[in-house]
Subunit: 106 residues, 2 copies
Amino acid sequence: MPRQRDRVGWAEPALLILASLADGPKHGYAITKDVEEQTSIKLGPGTLYAAIARLEESGLIAPLDEDERRRPYRITAEGQTVLDDKLRAMARFARTGLTRLGVANA
Amino acid sequence: MPRQRDRVGWAEPALLILASLADGPKHGYAITKDVEEQTSIKLGPGTLYAAIARLEESGLIAPLDEDERRRPYRITAEGQTVLDDKLRAMARFARTGLTRLGVANA
DNA sequence: GATCACTGCTACGTACTACGTAGTATCGTA
DNA sequence: TACGATACTACGTAGTACGTAGCAGTGATC
């Protein structure tokens, strides 16, 4: 799916959300803001809440007590494991790619 | 899109292809093999050639002389720029995420 | 005290695209 | 000559990213 400006996306919403929750529990809107700060990627509400629902269904995140205006979520142990795996793979991939590009600091 | 085993994908085919071509020109099948070696991600032909077509259309990769059995491609200067940006963003994101997870080597 | 901006989420439609499977053809090799 | 690897085309399905619109509560400002 055409991501942001060019067609080459590097992270899917689910991963962005997981990484955001790795910092501590947050509700949807706070996740959007955090992701935007960290990555400059703006998740629209449609994208965000759909992805959250799928993550919850997969058991990678879990809902907390909801103050009827906010729906906070936390990352589960399984979510942490998955996230850890993915981030390591990403880091490895990025390092290799930068090396291939001939970038010094890789 | 459900990626591989779990639902949390970390790299889109377009990026995998770009990174593979950063190493030098390759034809489709060789890209599949390279990506699989580097990332354990298997790109089916449908996914692969569709993504290649889009990358070519975007000017991020360009075709080379085709030996009628193989269609080799190279990464363009614009492709290198885009790839460099994405990989740096990925590396930053992965580092931040691992830190948040409390991982030592981040 | 009406308007405006921000917070926070729901609902919905569209189009993209990841993925799998089947099929075609060439080549090497045992 | 039959099998496996190489190399790509064609096609259908369903998942999902993304945008827009809408609704509601909370301030701040004038």
